[in-house]
Symmetry: C2
């Protein structure tokens, strides 16, 4: 007897929308940590986020139907944190700490919804912006990116037969498992999933996370995806992002205040979080300038996440700095998370093993590596470099310099001003692929 669940099949006949984001927890953990602080200290700030497609050759508006994109964004706006999710946020421990989120914040989250969006197709690209209170627009970053990336993947797969899809996923699974087997050879590896925003799709990210949990055991320390952390009893991983110093600098009234803003962010952060959450993200306006002018207490923080310098050079630079400041790098932590894949993870691991504590945040190349997997060939499933960045705070332009000029964002005149303030020493350009 052939068994078909007729109710399911009948429901499928009338299929309207397969939602990409089904929970507000389907976001990166650092968003919630930052949000609690933003709400506490900067609830009056308005911030505008904008989609930026750095892979300009990919004409997203030609690939993704605008109606489908609106339907997904609209669906995300219908979401609320469920009771189960709020109870878990309140009751779970994060980074070994109970009650990371205050009851007041949890109560505020209960009413949270994503704010409006502005969407236009212009010259083959989408202009997608989120304007409003920083406390709300910040929460669009991850769902907006994962929606666009998954819609792009769906478009690439729309005309494929069942069989081509079967081979596609078989290859991608086999590929990931080869990576798992290579990573297993690194005995002291600590690695986490950072791949939510760039994922091929939610179900695929879930499979990848389950694969790392199964295959890497204690080497797999968790996921940045809060929903997957909850559902799989994994640690939620993440600290803070460039938007904090970018907004602080945008709001600053003088060049001196701009120059001080990266350290002001750290002071604010330290007032809210401790321990392994004391991770410095040094490269918003260039790591060299950041280190040169950093107050001595910055060297007491747990570690750094160099996010745009080449990992070996960036790591060595920070280790040297710790040593100059009389700190022992062996007690410090470096987190590598910029476009890592197995080759670079192995190289970095071997370079720094025994000299510093290390962990890796594995993003695009974990959750969206379908290169060469399509039996029909083509590159439509290759990942692209898509970000959603803060571009304005209280009406003033926001800027990121980065250690890699290819990753700089903002108005050119403002970038020039920031380069005068921070200098361009130590910048090193390299192509941004993912």
């Amino acid at each position: 007897m052939a068994v078909t669940d007729i109710a399911t099949r009948t429901y499928d006949h009338g299929w309207r929308l397969d939602p990409i984001v089904r929970s507000l927890l389907d976001t990166d953990f650092y968003k919630l940590l930052m949000l609690q602080m933003i709400r506490h200290l900067h609830s009056d700030v308005r911030a505008t986020f904008s989609l930026i497609n750095r892979s300009t050759s990919i004409r997203l508006a030609d690939v993704i139907d605008e109606g489908e994109l609106r339907a997904q964004l609209d669906h995300a706006r219908t979401l609320r944190f469920s009771k189960k999710e709020l109870i878990w946020l309140a009751g779970n421990s994060f980074y070994g700490q109970q009650r990371m989120f205050s009851p007041d914040f949890i109560a505020w989250l209960a009413d949270f919804r994503l704010p409006e969006y502005e969407l236009q197709a212009i010259d083959g690209q989408y202009r997608l912006r989120f304007e409003g209170p920083w406390t709300h627009t910040t929460m669009w970053e991850i769902p907006a990116l994962s929606i666009i990336n998954e819609l792009r993947a769906r478009a690439a797969m729309r005309d494929k037969g069942r069989f081509a899809l079967d081979v596609l996923y078989a290859r991608a699974k086999a590929r990931l498992w080869e990576k798992v087997e290579r990573l297993r050879a690194l005995p002291d590896l600590a690695i986490s999933d950072f791949g939510t925003r760039r994922r091929h799709g939610f179900l695929w990210q879930r499979w990848c996370v389950e694969a790392l949990k199964e295959g890497l055991g204690r080497r797999f320390i968790g996921t940045s995806n809060v929903l997957l952390a909850m559902d799989n009893d994994l640690e939620a991983i993440g600290t803070n992002a460039h938007e904090l110093p970018m907004v602080m600098a945008a709001l600053a009234d003088s060049d001196e205040a701009v120059a001080a803003s990266p350290y002001r962010v750290l002071e604010e952060w330290k007032a809210h979080y401790g321990g392994n959450l004391l991770i410095v993200l040094p490269d918003a306006f260039g790591t060299a300038a950041f280190l040169e002018h950093a107050p001595d207490w910055v060297a007491d923080w747990t570690g750094f996440r160099p996010d745009s310098a080449p990992p070996i050079e960036g790591g060595e630079q920070i280790i040297r700095w710790w040593q100059e400041r009389g700190r022992d790098p062996k007690s410090k932590l470096l987190i590598f998370s910029d476009g890592m894949d197995v080759d670079s993870i192995e190289t970095v691991y071997r370079r720094f093993q025994g000299r510093v504590r290390m962990s890796f945040g594995w993003g695009t190349n974990l959750t969206n590596d379908f290169r060469g997997c399509d039996p029909d060939g083509g590159t439509a499933l290759e990942p692209i470099s898509l970000v959603a960045k803060v571009i304005e705070a209280n009406g003033r332009p926001a800027v990121k310099l980065s250690d890699n000029p290819a990753k700089a964002t903002g108005d050119p005149a403002e970038i020039a001003r920031y380069l005068r303030i921070f200098g361009a020493s130590g910048q090193s350009a390299s192509a941004v692929r993912v």
Copy 2:
């Protein structure tokens, strides 16, 4: 809402047997062709088939539970040809010919059931025998082998988690698709599935056949599995097997009659079938002896299936023989089916391309290549060399010499007698892996 088909799940709770063989058409096509002839000419012959595990280091009775094996064999004995199957056998054309099977034979099949079996576990191996009319015992060969091979695979996978199974099949699918892509590069390839008896499992064979259909297009000429041919609108492929000359020789009253038996089989065959079914299987008692003493009309047959000589040497030998007999090899067909895989297919294809028509029967390495696919490691899923051979006809011992002494079967004294009759020239030993 999580969707579960409660009826299916409840049925699964009470799972008793997942039948491996669910249709009497789940067998090789040549069995039906031979059966029609055996019934016509030799319905009074009794023949005993026996399981022979040439991979003696694999202790099958330690791996496969006897109760499960009996349950599967018993289930196979409950099967009858369904009306749909008989109508298809009667109405379909095979090798371009309508009404390949006579109405009389089809009517006889309607009452067919597999005969009894004798099963004992002895010293870690199964003694599995089928005694009775040749018309019935012959039909056990394929289901018995596919049952044992699948039970062995199931045992190897019993303790695996969902995830390990997922990676296992992903790797096997990716592996097969790499093979498909290599075979696509051979423009005039003609290949068919010969993997029923040695398959990992029925569902896996079905996937493999669908993969070849999708990936090789017209290069994939069909499958030996009658059920899969019917269900996928593919050609059923196959002609005849060693059991015909083995039984004829066993029944022969003199050494001269033994020596003549391979040609007598061909005469009987030619009285029943024509065209592309006129394929000589020359190696039952050694190809060299067969060719040396063959009547001239054998060279008029469509082709040869060298089944135990190394393929290049075997092919060259037959091509020389055709030339010596004044036939043009370009009009002839060679079918290679002994342990082929992509490497050997490519080599043989390149060697003979343009010199002879060729086709390949791809067996174990198509439907049971899980080598290195198990994420837990181990060799429990590697294929073994398991056959079911006729060992007696009307109480007299049956013998196969083969071109490879490692494939010889039968009583040692009888083998010695056959070697005296046919000679051992041209025999060349090589390890039998699959």
